[in-house]
Symmetry: C4
Subunit: 312 residues, 4 copies
């Protein structure tokens, strides 16, 4: 019954993950923010989300798919024209079957892309009908491609780089859990927010627990430079007095949820990552990023984002 602490009353740190204690080495979020869950679904075939795949696949695979789709479509239509009879075309080369098919293949390409030179041209109802269907198919397919290309480019995305390690170290009199992040694109991120959830096994109850870790600062107006997130480890922190070994034993995972407004497109972007116990370094702090100023312009070198120095 979660109703005890003011504003956050009904918000659960839980992930819909349940509280069953998992094997060691569970990782809910990968470093790149993908979730380690696969959902089996009865109507799976009815639901393959083609658009989702087209939008999220790599550019390399996307271009390969476009090219092979174009090639296959032309093979298909060339075969249809061949089946309907090559003699139904004007100016077709009739040297041999191969040349007939090749010419039909190129006629198909000219039709699909609506370039339509017309040197080779369809005659008669059947092949003209197929060509009419092909040109419309072509237009709709390229209409679709337009949408997909726009969708790929305009998709709201944050390109956040997180420091390779998180640290626990003395900080302003007490001890704190810290990691560092930065925006690696030319877009400015504003109204930047971060939330840190700790997932761990409670060794007494044998349950997986989730707790939101309070942060020193969880919202900033700009993320122009890097941002070091600080969770002060006081007596109320669930990891008060924990060693690195304790965290590994509890199979702890620090889940990092980030969102901001991308200033260029005014849309909200999300990013996430996680740190496991073995990615934690005790008693270390992040080295300040090299910065220099020329006139009003400050340059910051994000290539040193991961650099830490061990304390005493």
């Amino acid at each position: 019954m979660a109703k005890q602490d003011g504003d956050k009353t009904n918000e659960k740190a839980g992930l819909g993950f349940g509280t069953k204690n998992y094997h060691k080495n569970t990782r809910f979020l990968n470093r790149d923010g993908t979730i380690n869950i696969r959902r089996l679904d009865g109507d799976f075939l009815g639901r393959i989300d083609i658009y989702h795949s087209l939008i999220t696949m790599s550019w390399k695979r996307f271009i390969l798919m476009v090219l092979s789709g174009y090639f296959s479509a032309n093979i298909l239509f060339a075969s249809l024209y061949y089946w309907a009879g090559p003699h139904n075309f004007g100016n077709l080369s009739h040297k041999d079957s191969l040349h007939e098919f090749l010419d039909l293949f190129f006629f198909s390409a000219q039709t699909l892309t609506t370039v339509g030179y017309g040197y080779i041209y369809p005659q008669g109802t059947l092949v003209s009908s197929i060509a009419a269907i092909e040109s419309m198919t072509g237009l709709l397919t390229f209409a679709l491609a337009t949408g997909v290309l726009y969708g790929r480019f305009s998709r709201p995305q944050a390109h956040i780089r997180y420091s390779k390690h998180c640290v626990i170290a003395p900080y302003e009199g007490i001890t704190a859990f810290m990691f560092r992040m930065a925006n690696t694109t030319q877009n400015e991120l504003i109204e930047t927010q971060v939330k840190v959830i700790l997932a761990y096994n409670d060794l007494k109850t044998n349950q997986r627990e989730f707790e939101i870790l309070p942060l020193e600062i969880d919202k900033i107006s700009f993320m122009a430079l890097s941002w070091t997130i600080v969770h002060p480890i006081d007596e109320k922190s669930p990891i008060y007095n924990y060693t690195k070994e304790d965290l590994i034993k509890a199979d702890a995972e620090f889940l990092i949820l980030f969102n901001a407004v991308n200033d260029t497109y005014s849309d909200i972007v999300y990013s996430r990552t996680s740190y496991k116990g073995h990615e934690l370094i005790m008693n270390a702090k992040f080295k300040p990023l090299p910065r220099n100023q020329r006139g009003n312009k400050v340059t910051v070198d994000l290539r040193k984002l991961d650099e830490i120095e061990l304390l005493g």
Copy 2:
């Protein structure tokens, strides 16, 4: 005068539905989330929202519409060309009227799709003008099709599956109303929220009442697996001590309103459903979904979402 309970002061569970007591068997929301209301409007003809229809109709109907629209447009323009005189075209077959019309039909298709082979070509001002209008019409229509296709694919949508039944059963010491839901797509849903509104007839006042049911947890950070929503039935609950028969007699309807952020496109998606009294099972609980772990990857089987077991 609704001002009594803090934050929700002015928010009404009401649905703009009024409080007149309806006949039995009213259902406001269907299982698929559509609303059982039809609005008659004087300016209806002026307002048929074509874009809305094109975006929401089924793919089957959409493709049928595109094909029949393409066919009709070509019939229309072929008729115009025929009316303007088939002799105004170069290379047209003049075997008979049918062949003339067929050739004009294919010339129209070549013009509308801008494939323009040019074997058949317009000569003279009238047919050239019609062709000039047709090619522009074609381009604008396919421009529209591009927009509609993009709109269909990119429309924010949640594909939530709700358990077939809801249950009332003992839960952590007290009794609770529960149902289960899951995301059936590859997209991750984050910042997931749910609201449950109970609509029922107050048998004393003969009014239809609406109340927001407080939930144990109404917001989670991820909906990676399934989510069981729990309304604890304590003394303050409007259905405290109700039997299934009481709920059916009061024509109760549990309205479920869901929203989340679709992580792939960063947009907010909505879903809703409802449960009526006859879809409630007393004294039953949902069986845990089969899950297994290979390395970090946890697989969950959503095909068992509906499975319940009756309690003693």
Copy 3:
């Protein structure tokens, strides 16, 4: 120094309109929601927002603009081709200058739309170059048209109809200011919110004042049917004990600001209107809208939205 009333502390009902007392018959908002302000700006010419105009103009004007743009572009390019020399084209009719120009006009249309029959074709560097530029211009223009058409169709819009009159009448023991509104489209509106601001001249201070009127209910989950907005006129209301004549004398204007989520596209839509004193009817109430139920489906007749009945 506005800091006195809790949550709304720093939110001003003010409209950036200042408090200078205007002539009688000021109207800030028209019934259709447009604002009666025109901004003169030094860089006006540099800022004419073409896209804004293309998106918001009527369909009739838009189609007229497309047609006349198409016609003008072809006249322009035909003139260029004519200037470059009609003898540079294959198969051009050379009967007379008019026929030459007409043929060049149609060649231009075939190039701009990329239909390119090729019966008439350019020969030589100059006309081929112009044609190369024209076909690219055509493609980019139609690309633009695609965007504009999509923008026009997908623009978030609420089609709210407000009752012709507002009323002040007895309501549940006290008196209330009321008006009625309904959604006239097939889209469902959810998370519906309304705000009513009263603008009036304070006759003592000779200042124009703005006050947010508290509403009985200012947010509903659905706006499936009509919604009657109620401002209870108690002692704290700025119009307590006002007559219609008082409101007219104070040049009162009730500004109605509405927003909701359009369920089909998951975007937020805004609507607004205003009522002036002469659109107020005292001592009247809205007639319930005719409704009937067939099975689960309830039909409501929005054509009667304006109907009121005078009370004793």
Copy 4:
């Protein structure tokens, strides 16, 4: 440990800028809202955000890029055709190499734009294949152009003009920091919000500090006219009793963050600027903007936005 003042608890005025004391004449934000930070990144080459550049570059540069891209693509494909052998084309001029290349250049343009007159046409497998690839490349490129053009036009943007100077002057009994702003487009801005952050060097601690300045009004329903933002300088203000020289000495920068809903497209737009000490005028007030009313329509002259008058 920032937890002391209610709602704003965890929101930091900080900019991710750190508190190291910079040289004099630091400016975080330029007048046009761009940020004076450059981020060096190891994977920079892998991340050049082409779409971002295409969307944000000036129209002049964009059109230049499109034209030179079109020209280069045709040069490239013409070279390929030339390499593959000009004798593989029907109707090609063979006068000399230059004319051959020119004809291939125009054939390429006809293929890329899919206009495809067909007077010149490819024969044989190799050149037909290149042409098939070129026409598809053309379609995809123009698909991309469609997306980019739509992205450029539909990008949410606020065109806010800020007064050239800010002032500190007596205001309603106390002293206040003020500046003025206005919307210069035909779009209406609603739900307008502003935040002012003061960045300054604390001369005692030698740290750069950031503080949110409380405003008299920080949210208005409409920004139909101009809006004068007022920070009352009472004892709690960090600039209480500061002179202009003190502000310059502390290298003070007033950061202005603005957002609103653009009523035409229902999207949120952001704008920002900053004022440095030398842009402040003491003891001056903004002249009221000339306004006149014809019927209901009020005209306001934004060209006088910067005009101030010095007080006694």
